[in-house]
Each structure stands twice: as C-alpha cells, then as structure tokens.
C-alpha cells in the first residue's frame, strides 16, 4: 500500500477501505471524508459528532465507520481528530467549484481571500485555490480549520495548501 511506503493514501486505497462517500452523497452537499484506515487505539471522532454519524465502538482500535446519510458536513469532527485525518468535501460549493476543509496547524495562518496553491495527499501542488473560510473557535483547541475553493474536479484530490515559505512544493 502506498500509505505504508510513501505515507499517503491513494483514492483507490481509501475506496478499498470502504469508507469513501458515494457519488450520490457528494452531489447532496458537504460530507466528511474520514481518511483513517489503520486500527489504532483512538475514538475522539465518535464523540465529536453530535449526529451519530461516526461509530468506533469497542474495542477502540476499530476503524471509524461513517454513516454518510447521517453526516451533515458540519465539520465539528475535523479539529477533534488527533490524526488530522478528517476532511469536509463539498462538491456543490458553486458553479464549477468545490470546497475542501482541512485542519491547518502551521504559521502563518492564511487569510480569507488569499490565493494559494492547493496540494494533494502527497503534498504535490494540483491547482490554484482561494481561501474562503478559516474557523478557529476556542473549542477547536488551537487547530484552525481552513476551507479552500478549488475547481470541483479537484475537490477529491485537494487535502491542504502549500505552507507559506515552503520552497515551491516537492516533487
């Protein structure tokens, strides 16, 4: 698996893990994509979701199971996941636009309206994006959640932005 050798998941690996939202669900609006496919002792995502859309259960090494029907895409789970492994993908954000929300714990924090380079799971720049929202209430405990708008066709690939000062991305 790519995740065991290179450190990042491919969409194929994610889909094979059975946790990936369906195409129909993506068309309904924002939804959580949980990219946590290894049995580790962890469950804060389960208590973070007040809609009961994430279930870990006992033992806590179970993989988190998402219920795409219950998920409202509210994003509360994103900052609570210590693995920084939950993303909100909205393929209905606007005309030809999708939006991706991800945890971002680097300095400096971008500002709303910034034009940025959006990167994929491997840190490769894939397209330009615009920062449309930054949420960092106290309850997120110093894990800001950034939302970028990107071409809708890239919304399933984009998982972050280039850090300010990062030397032109990596190949």
């Amino acid at each position: 698996m790519s995740v065991e050798n290179e450190g990042y998941l491919t969409i194929e690996e994610l889909k094979a893990a059975g946790q990936y939202p369906s195409g129909a669900r993506f068309q309904e609006g924002p939804v959580a994509v949980i990219e946590c496919v290894q049995e580790i002792p962890c469950n804060p995502c389960e208590t973070a979701c007040r809609f009961g859309a994430i279930r870990v259960g006992e033992p806590i090494t179970n993989l988190p199971k998402a219920d795409e029907g219950k998920c409202t895409g509210c994003g509360l789970c994103v900052a609570r996941c210590p693995g920084l492994a939950i993303f909100i993908v909205d393929k209905t954000y606007g005309e030809g636009l999708g939006a991706v929300s991800f945890p971002y714990e680097y300095f400096p924090l971008p500002s709303e309206g910034d034009e940025v380079t959006a990167v994929d799971r491997a840190g490769r720049g894939v397209c330009a994006g615009t920062v449309v929202k930054i949420l960092a209430p106290e309850s997120f405990d110093r894990t800001p959640v950034v939302t970028v708008a990107v071409p809708v066709g890239k919304a399933e690939d984009v998982r972050g932005i280039e850090r300010a000062g990062q030397a032109g991305g990596q190949s």
């Binding site: 050798n5 290894q38 049995e39 002792p41 806590i60 090494t61 693995g83 840190g123 000062g165």
Partner: protein, 373 residues
C-alpha cells in the same frame, strides 16, 4: 546529608510517575515524586500535538495539557514534588540517593528511605552511528523536540529525519510547525513504522518519505552542511549506486527508545530483553511489582509504549503500593486493578498494539517463573 523517610517515593514525574503518586496519595500514603527536570510532566511537556486514545484517556487533548492536569491533581492530593532532583542511586533496602540543585549552583545529596518505591524514569533515545554522526547538527529527535517545544530554539532550517516511527513522524511535523523544512525522512525498513495518519500529515506537507533507505554520511565544516542517503537491500546493506546528497543543516535521529533501567539494576531487579519493548526491562507482575519486593515500575521503564499505557500502569503501581501498605483493602484494589487491566487490554489492540500486549504478557509470565524458581 539530610535523612528523609517517606511511605512512597516515585522516581520520575512523567505520566506514569505522576499517576502513581496521585493514586498512592489519594489512598493516604505520604508520597514524594523526584524529577530531574525543571518542570514535572516528563515527555508530556514536549508533546504539543493532540493525543490518540479513548475519550476516557483524554484523547484529543494535547500532551502538554494532560501534563498540566496531572500536576494540578498531584497538588490537590498533597503529593510533594521535588524538581531538579536526580535519583543517582538506589540501595538496599529501598534507599534512594537524590542529588538536588543545579550544575551551576549549590548541589546537595539527600538520602531517602522509602517503604515503597515506584520507578518511572521513562526511556532514553537510541543512537545511530554513521560517518559524521558526531558533527554539531546531528541530534536525537527527542532533543530536537525539546529545543523547539520547550526551549523554543530551532535546531536548523533544513532537516533530514532518520526513522519513521511515531517519534520521527511527529517530530518532523512539529519541526515544520516551528518553521523548519524537513527535506526527507528515511527509514531502513520496507514499511513506515508509525501510524499512517501521522505519516499522511507530513506527506501532505510535502515531506518525501523514503522507506528502504538509510543515511550514509553527514558532512560539513564545523556543523552539518549536507548528508548522503541511499537505498538499502533486504539485508539493510547500503546500495551505494543509489546515493543522493541532500543540502541539510540538521540530521535528527528517531531510532527508537530504550527503557532507563539503571536504578532497577542497582537494586537487582531481574530483567528481560524484549525487542518490542525497547530492550532490557524489569520483570514485573500484574501489580507492577518487580522481583525486588516493594519496588514497582510503571511507564516506559517497564517497556516503551505510550502515555496512555504509562498513565494506567502508574495507577496500577500506585494502588498496589498503597494496598501493600495497608491503606486500601484487597477487594477494592483488585476491583480497580481489573478495571485498569480492561482499559490496558483495549489500548494494546490493533496491529501496533497486539505485539506489545504479547510482550507484556511474556514479561509477567517470566516474572512468575522467576518467582517460582
């Protein structure tokens, strides 16, 4: 030399030591914690990331905040904590020599007599030797983490990380948070050792992770200026034709930890070697008592694991020490211990955990055969 008598002396104020002290003091033992550092909390005060674990283990809370909570609880329970105090010797029967003070100031040695001792000294970093490994700029990943998160000093701008266990992955992430660039992470094994979610975090930030690779040499005038890496074959021998040079000023080594067991050895606690637990560690029973009666271990000293398991083992040791001093009844102690073991078993599941569960039960089995021999 002052004399001092305590019911319970805990060596090491990390999560294991503090939770042992809290439980012992709660049951009414006069309890002292000695810690070598300026602040108690052990590794926790370097861990600025949110921890894994179940919500019952403060999961999702940052390590540093867990440390703060433990210290507040110690204070509430009347635990005495001596900082800048190194246990330099452990003599029979249960006598601890503690050096107090700073290198640049007055120092004194205090000899403590303890009815029960909990050793919770944690673990130390393993080194990796390669050409140039003594150059300034080559350091343990834990040392780099102390520099950025405790002392707020960046060890360098461009870093090569050796080792893909959780320490290598997390410290890489934190070095970037502190403003450094991690140019590459090399791992000799064919697969990443730590959690996939930690690896994904740094992959997403653009750090290339090279499994099946090692460091060959670090070079520089007075300090590291560049380093060579290359692929290894299945016997971990370098394939020199794959050599690549990286412009880095820092090489950080995350090659695992080993239990800090010197004090246990001084008191003739019997040891067992287990690679999964980081090497030699004292044998202990399900109450965390070693083969030296009245001396308990908890946390990384008893086998390198995690803060969550350290907290639970600390509780086991604290409750068992209090029970053996008659401060808590056997039935109560047994009930609490079985709850703790339930949680410990839960933490030692999954592909990363079962090997530790197995190793820990071997430790307890060896303890039993050592006792019956």
């Amino acid at each position: 030399m002052a004399q001092n008598k305590w019911e319970v002396v805990v060596v090491g104020g990390g999560p294991a030591g503090l939770s042992a002290a809290i439980e012992a003091a709660k049951s009414g033992c006069r309890t002292l914690v000695v810690d070598a550092n300026e602040t108690a909390g052990g590794q926790l005060f370097k861990q600025i990331h949110k921890f894994f674990g179940s919500s019952a283990h403060r999961a999702g809370v940052r390590g540093i905040d867990i440390g703060g909570e433990l210290l507040a609880e110690c204070e509430k329970q009347g635990v005495e904590v001596w900082l800048n105090s190194v246990a330099i010797g452990l003599f029979k029967e249960k006598t601890v020599a503690v050096e107090r003070g700073f290198d640049n100031g007055a120092k004194s040695v205090v000899v403590l007599e303890a009815d029960r001792i909990v050793l919770a000294s944690g673990a130390s970093e393993n080194a990796v030797r390669f050409r140039g490994w003594t150059l300034p700029g080559v350091m343990g990943a834990g040392a780099a983490q102390t520099m950025i998160n405790v002392n707020r000093v960046l060890p360098g701008k461009n870093v090569l990380m050796i080792g893909s266990g959780n320490v290598g992955l997390i410290v890489s992430y934190q070095l970037m948070q502190a403003g450094a660039d991690v140019k590459a992470l090399v791992e000799a094994a064919p697969k990443i050792g730590g959690y996939a979610v930690h690896a994904s975090k740094i992959a997403r930030a653009g750090v290339p992770i090279h499994t099946g690779h090692t460091v060959l040499e670090a070079r520089g005038d007075r300090r590291v200026e560049e380093a060579d890496i290359c692929a290894v074959d299945e016997k971990w021998q370098p394939l020199l034709e794959t050599k690549k040079t990286l412009a880095v000023d820092t090489v950080t080594i995350a090659a695992g930890l080993k239990p800090l067991v010197e004090l246990a050895m001084m008191h003739d606690c019997q040891m067992m070697f287990h690679p999964v637990l980081g090497g030699w560690a004292p044998l202990h029973d399900a109450k965390m008592e070693t083969t030296s009666p009245g001396i308990y271990v908890a946390g990384d000293i008893s086998g390198v694991e995690e803060a969550n398991t350290a907290l639970e083992e600390g509780k086991l040791a604290g409750i068992s020490a209090a029970e053996s001093l008659g401060k808590i009844g056997e039935a109560d102690a047994d009930r609490i211990r079985s709850e703790i073991w339930g949680r410990l078993d839960g933490l030692r599941l999954g592909p990363h955990g079962v090997m530790r569960m197995q190793a820990k039960s071997e430790q307890i089995d060896h303890y039993k055969s050592a006792q019956s021999a």
